[in-house]
Symmetry: D3
Subunit: 289 residues, 6 copies
Amino acid sequence: MFRHVKDLQFEAKPDGPDAAFARRLQEVLGGKWGEMTVANQYLFQGWNCRLPGKYKDLLLDVGTEEMGHVEMIVTMITRLLDNAPLSLTEGIAEDPGGAATYAGENPAHFIHGGGGALPADSNGVPWNGAFITASGNLLADFQLNVTSEAQGRLQVARLFHMTDDPGVKQMLRFLLARDTMHQNMWLAAIEQLKEDGLEDMPVPEAFPDSGEFTEEYGYTYLGFSSGTDAARGRWASGPSPDGKGEFRYDDNPRANAPEPVLPPGDPRLYGTNPGVAGSVVNTVKSKLT
Amino acid sequence: MFRHVKDLQFEAKPDGPDAAFARRLQEVLGGKWGEMTVANQYLFQGWNCRLPGKYKDLLLDVGTEEMGHVEMIVTMITRLLDNAPLSLTEGIAEDPGGAATYAGENPAHFIHGGGGALPADSNGVPWNGAFITASGNLLADFQLNVTSEAQGRLQVARLFHMTDDPGVKQMLRFLLARDTMHQNMWLAAIEQLKEDGLEDMPVPEAFPDSGEFTEEYGYTYLGFSSGTDAARGRWASGPSPDGKGEFRYDDNPRANAPEPVLPPGDPRLYGTNPGVAGSVVNTVKSKLT
Amino acid sequence: MFRHVKDLQFEAKPDGPDAAFARRLQEVLGGKWGEMTVANQYLFQGWNCRLPGKYKDLLLDVGTEEMGHVEMIVTMITRLLDNAPLSLTEGIAEDPGGAATYAGENPAHFIHGGGGALPADSNGVPWNGAFITASGNLLADFQLNVTSEAQGRLQVARLFHMTDDPGVKQMLRFLLARDTMHQNMWLAAIEQLKEDGLEDMPVPEAFPDSGEFTEEYGYTYLGFSSGTDAARGRWASGPSPDGKGEFRYDDNPRANAPEPVLPPGDPRLYGTNPGVAGSVVNTVKSKLT
Amino acid sequence: MFRHVKDLQFEAKPDGPDAAFARRLQEVLGGKWGEMTVANQYLFQGWNCRLPGKYKDLLLDVGTEEMGHVEMIVTMITRLLDNAPLSLTEGIAEDPGGAATYAGENPAHFIHGGGGALPADSNGVPWNGAFITASGNLLADFQLNVTSEAQGRLQVARLFHMTDDPGVKQMLRFLLARDTMHQNMWLAAIEQLKEDGLEDMPVPEAFPDSGEFTEEYGYTYLGFSSGTDAARGRWASGPSPDGKGEFRYDDNPRANAPEPVLPPGDPRLYGTNPGVAGSVVNTVKSKLT
Amino acid sequence: MFRHVKDLQFEAKPDGPDAAFARRLQEVLGGKWGEMTVANQYLFQGWNCRLPGKYKDLLLDVGTEEMGHVEMIVTMITRLLDNAPLSLTEGIAEDPGGAATYAGENPAHFIHGGGGALPADSNGVPWNGAFITASGNLLADFQLNVTSEAQGRLQVARLFHMTDDPGVKQMLRFLLARDTMHQNMWLAAIEQLKEDGLEDMPVPEAFPDSGEFTEEYGYTYLGFSSGTDAARGRWASGPSPDGKGEFRYDDNPRANAPEPVLPPGDPRLYGTNPGVAGSVVNTVKSKLT
Amino acid sequence: MFRHVKDLQFEAKPDGPDAAFARRLQEVLGGKWGEMTVANQYLFQGWNCRLPGKYKDLLLDVGTEEMGHVEMIVTMITRLLDNAPLSLTEGIAEDPGGAATYAGENPAHFIHGGGGALPADSNGVPWNGAFITASGNLLADFQLNVTSEAQGRLQVARLFHMTDDPGVKQMLRFLLARDTMHQNMWLAAIEQLKEDGLEDMPVPEAFPDSGEFTEEYGYTYLGFSSGTDAARGRWASGPSPDGKGEFRYDDNPRANAPEPVLPPGDPRLYGTNPGVAGSVVNTVKSKLT
C-alpha cells in the first residue's frame, strides 16, 4: 500500500520553457532505461521476492523512491512545455530558435497531452512492460539493476549537455547523485548475496553443470569473426571469474552437426515439400475425405 | 560481411515432436532475453564500437556465434512442430497428452508459420529492437551483457525441466555451457576495461561529480518503504564499491521541494485552468481572431 | 514523493494454486483496463493537472490507492503460480485438470518471471503507456475515468465466475466494491466540474462553435447503415443533452464534395503518376543532374 | 457488407502544402483517439452487439460514417504532403519555414508512404487494435464512446490553432460539428439504456453487490495522498450518483492484511529462496534424476 | 464515403460453438495477413492513389469488399464463442474436449470482449498499422497485394483442416474462392500496368540505373552460404526476368572495403573512446565550463 | 553457423556528418522494408525450408548477404551521427542548417545510442519480428520477397534524392544494384518453382478448389465502390492468369445472407442482452449459488 506526499523529493522547475528539450527528457521518463522502468522493475522484483527481510526491503524502498523520480520528471516536462509555439507561424515569429523548437517538438505533447508529459520515450513510443524483468533470481536481477542505473546515469549525463537551463541542470545533478548511489547499492547487494551464500556465478549456480560439455565449451572463447585481437583479452586465457575454470582461445571453431535436413511437412499446411510435386493434391484430398 | 556454414554449431534434433514445448522454447529464441537479442545486441555494440582492437573483436566474435544459436533453436523448434495435432478432434484422438498439446500450442506456428519457428516469444509476441541496447559506453553495456547471459542461462535451465526429450536436453546442455562461458567472459571484460583505464564506476565515470549533491545523496540509502530490514545490508553502511564514498542509512527521507503548482496552460489547448472559468471562452475567441 | 507500507490494503491469498487462472487474472493487472492503467492514468492526470486543490488531490489520492491494488494483484498472481505443472508429463500426472492447467498457463510466468506476476495482459502482451490518457481537460478525462472503472468492474465481475477459489473471490469482492465507489466518484466529479463552472458539454466547451456547420451538422443523426431502427432512439429527436440543440434524423446523408483527384506526385518519390508514363525517366534524370 | 461512394462526405482540400502540419494531423487519423479508432470501435461494438434494433443500428450507422472521416483525413494529409522539401538543402532554399518544415516532417511519409498518409499517429507509431474496446456491455461502451468523441473533439480543436490554412480549418470545423453531435448522441444513448431498463449504475449492475464490503468500501473516499482538499468535493459526502449509497471520507485508510510472505518457489525455477542456500543444489539434482 | 448493408456478403454461422477454434480464426481477422490488413491496405492504396480511373477504382472496390469480410469473420467468431467453458471446472465437466477448449481459448475473448471478436491475431496480439503498405508505386504494391492474397488463402486453407464444423467450412470455402479471384486480379493488374506503360521492372524503373555498379552487381548471384546448389537455379545463369541483363554466379564474393575504423565520439556522450583514457575527464570538464 | 569478415561488402563512409539524414536512413535499416527485415526473412525461410538443395541454398545465401548490408548501413549511420549539434544553442551556432539538423534528429540516437545506429525505423519505432514471414509455402514467400526487394529499392531510390553527400550516394547506388539483382532473382525463382512442378497458382494450388463457389466467386470482379472504371481493366474480363478461369464483372454484388442476429450471451459476462432487462440479476444470482 502506498501513501503519497505532495511535496517533491527534489525541485523540478526549469528557468524557462523548452519544448524541444522536453521531448528529449522523455527518454529518462518513459524510455527503456527511464524512471518508469526502474520504478516498476524494482517494485515487481520486490513483490515477487520470496525472501522476506533485507533484500525485499531493499527492492521496495528503492522502487518507491523511483516513483518519486517519475513524479519529478513529469513535473519538469510539463513546465518545459509551457508557452510552446503551436504553429510554424508562431515558431518563426519567435527568436531564432522558435522554428527549430516547433520542428523538434513532440506534437503529441500538445495534441494528446494538452501540454503535459506522456508515458513515452523521446520519439513518442509508449513505455511498455517488456522493459522490466523480475526473474525471481536475485543475482541475475541485481546485475540487471546495476546496468539499469548505469544506462540511466549515462542518459542523464548526456541530457546534461543538451540544455543550458540552470533549473534543469540542478535536477539532473540530483538524479546523477542518486544514480551513483544506486549503482553502488546494487553492486553491494550482489556481494551480499554471495556472502549470504544465496547465489553465485554462473547464474543459476544451482543448476547442475553441463556435464560432458563443461570442460570443452564452458570456458572456451570461440573466434567467429576475422582477426585475433580478442585473444589478447582477459577473457581468452587465465582463470575465469567464477573461479571454476580456465579460459581457452579457439580461433577456428568447428561445426558439430551436419546440415539439418527437415522431413516433409504435414500436407495440410501446404508448405513446399520435397519430392511430392505430383502427388500432393491427391494426398490432401484423401486426408480431407 | 558474413559467411554462412550450413552445418550447425551443435545438433538440434529432438527425439520426438512436442508442439506445446516448441511454443515454450520460443522464449529463448525471440523473447526479451533470447538468442535474437544477444546476437543483435553484440553485433550492434560491435559495429557501433569506436575502439578498434580486442573489444570490438570480442563483440563481433560473440555476436556471430549467437547467430548460429538462433539457427539451432529455429531448427529445433521446427522439428518439434512436426506431426502436431491440428484440431481438437485430432488432439483427443491421440494419447492423453494430445488434447493438452493442441490446447497449449501456439496456433500461429501452423497458421502463419506453416510448421516453422517464428521470431516471437513464448506467447507469440514478436521480438522487437527495443530488447537490445548498444549505448556506446562499454562498461554499461558489458554489465548488460552479463545479465543478458545470466537471464538467458536461467531461462534455458528452467526449460530443461519442462521436457523429457533427450535430444532437446542435449542441446540445452550445450547452450548452458556456452552461457557459462559468456557470463564469465563479460565479467572478465569488465575487469579488462578497468585495468586498461578506459572506464570505471560509477558509469559514466567521466562525468564530473554531482557537486553539492555528491556528499548528501551520492552514498545515502533512503528508506521509503516501511520497515528497516534493509539497514542490515552491505548497501547501508561501510565503503561503497566504487571506492569513493561511505554508505549511510536514512529511514526518513525528506522532501526537498514544495508541492508543485502549475500555471494555467495555453487556452488554445483547452486544458482545465484555474480561475478562468468565466473568461476562457473569450480568451480563446480573442486569440482566434 | 511516495511512501510504501508493506501491509496490504486487502488480503491477496488464494486457497490453492491455479496457474491457468493466474494467466486470466493478468488482464486486470496489465491489460488495457487493468490496475496499472488506472494507477498511472490518475497519477499522470494529477501531476499534469493545472488546478491546485480538490481536483488535483482527488486524482493523486485515487492514483495512489490503485498502486496498492497493483500490489495486491501481483501478490495474488504470484501465489496462484505456486506448484504449477512445469511439463506435460507433470500435468498429466496430476488430477484431471492438470493437463489443462499446463496447457492454459502463460509459459512466460515461469520461463521469464520465475513464478511471479508480469506487467502484461492475459495473453502475455506487455502493458503499454498508450493505455492511459491525461489530456489536460478534466471533463474529457473524468469521462474516461468513468468508463475505466466500469470496464474494470466488468472484467473483475467476469473473473469472479472463472474461479471457485474462496480466497480469490474475496479479493475480487473487495475490488468490486472499490470500483463501485470509483465509478460513482468520477460521475460526481463531472457534476462538480459543471457546478464549479469549469467545464461543460460539448468538450471542449471553450471552443467557439463550428459556425455555419453547427446548425446542419451539430445535432443531426446521419444514418449510413441500412435500416431505420435508430430513428427510434433518444439520439434522433428531442433536445440534445448539452441543452444547446435539437436532434434531427437524416436517413440519406449526402456527400458534400466530389471524388478527390490528386495531382501527380514528386517524380523523385517514384509513385505511379497519371499521364507521365513516357517522360518520367527523363524528368527524374534531369532533376538529378 | 459495405458500399463505397467516391464523393467525400466533406471537402478535404488545403489551400497549400504543409508537411509538418500533415504529421500533426496524423494524430486524429491514426492516434489513440483518431478516426480509425472510432470507426473500428463502433463497428466492432455493432457487430458484437447482441441486441437487434436501435442500439445495433446506432453503432453501425456511426461506425460507417467514421470510415468516411478516415477517408477525408487521409485525403487531406496526402494533399498537405505535396511539394514537400525532401532534403535539408531544399528546405533551406525555401522561405523561412522551409528548413523547419523539413525538420518537422515525418520522414516515413515520403520514404515509406511515397507522399501519402499512413495509419499511424503524429509520431509515426502505428495504430493498433488495443485502441478499441467492444466489451459487450453497452453502458460501459457508451461511456467510452462519450470520452472518445470528447478526446477527439479536443484534439481537433487544438489542431485548429496549429494551422492558418483556410481549407484545413474548414474541414476541422465540420469535424468539430460532428463530434458535437456524437458526444450528445452517446450521452442520449446512455439515458436511453437506463430508460429501457437494460443497464444502470454501477456497471455491471447485474452483478450481485459486494456483500459485506459494500457498506464499508462501496461509498468511501480513501485519501492516500497528503492534504485533504478532496474532502470538499461532491465525491466525499452526500448521495452517490447511482442512488444507492452515501459518500464518506476517510483520510487515513488502513491496511487490512499483513505484509505478504511468499513461500519458497519450485527449486527448478532457480529463484532465490529463503533458507535454502546450502541445500538447493542437492534438491535440484535429486529432482532431476 | 461508405454505406453499410446489414445483410452479410455470405453466411457466417457455425453449426456449434468452439472457443478454441475461434481463437485460431482470429489470425485471418486481425493477424498480419488477415482481412483487416487487406481491407485497410487496399483502401489506403486507393485513397493515396494519384491515378484517377481504373486502378483507383480497383483498389477502392476490393478494399470495400474486404470490409465486408471483416464483418463476416467477426460475426463467425462471436458465434463460435457462445457457451464456452468459463472455468476449469466447467471445462472438465463437459465432454472430453471441454478442458482442452478451456485451456486453448483466448481469455481476453471473455474478459475484455465479453464473448465477442477482437481486432487481434490468434495469440491476442493487436492488429497494427505497420501490417499495411501503400507506397504510391502501384507495381510494388500490386506485388504486395498478390502475396497478401496468397498468404491469406494459405491461412484459410490451413484453418479448413482445423475444424470439423460444416458451417465454418462453408464460409471458408467462400473466402477461398474470393482469394483465388483476388490473386488472379492483382496479377492481371501487374500485367495491365506494364501494358499501359506505367511501371516496369525493376521497381522503380524510373530510377536511373546504378551506373558503374549495374554491370558488376545488378545481375550477379553472390553465394554467401556454404554449398553451390543454388548455381543450378534459373537465377544463376541465363537472361534476367527484367530483360535487361544476364545472370552470373559468384561463389566467392569479395569484400570491397576495409574494416571500418570509427573516430572517437563526442566526449559529452560518454562512449568508450580510443586512446583517451587518461584525459577524457578533463576534456569533458573543460567543455562543461 | 556463421563467420564474420570484418571488411565490408561495400564502402559505407559519408563525406560529412548529417544527423537528420541519419534518422531518415534508419528506415532502410530497421523499418518494415529495411535490411533487418530481408536478412531475417530469408534466413527464417531458409532454416524452415523443407526442400534441401537449390531453394534452401538460395535463401541462406541471400539472407547472409543481407546481414552484411545491415552492417554497412549501421556503419554509415554511425558515421553520419558524428559532430551532431547536441543542443538548440549549438544548432543555431552552426551554419543555416544547424538548427534544422538539431530539430530533425532522432534524439535517441544520442541519448540511448550514444551516437550509434539503432534497430528502429526513421521515427525511432523499433523493428519487430512481425515484419517478416516464413510461411513454408515457397511460392507465397517468393512473391513476398519480390515486393520486399521492390519496396526496398523504392525506398533507397527516394533516399538518394534526400542527400547531396557523394559517399552516401555511392553506397546507395550499390544497394540499388543489389536490389535490382534480388528482384530479378525472386522472379526467376517463381518461374523455377513452376517449372519444377512444385507450386503453381493460386496459392496453395494443392488445396482442392472451392467446389460450388469456384464458378460463381472464383473469377468474378465485384464492384463495391461507385463508378465502373474498373470494368476496363484486364481483371474484369478475359482469361485469368492462373489459366483456370474467365474473369467476369459484377457491378452490383448481392448479399447472400440475412442480417445476423446474435443470441443472448452468457449472463455471467454481463453483456447487454435482448429482452432480459428485468430478470438478468436473478439469472446471475442463481448461477452464482
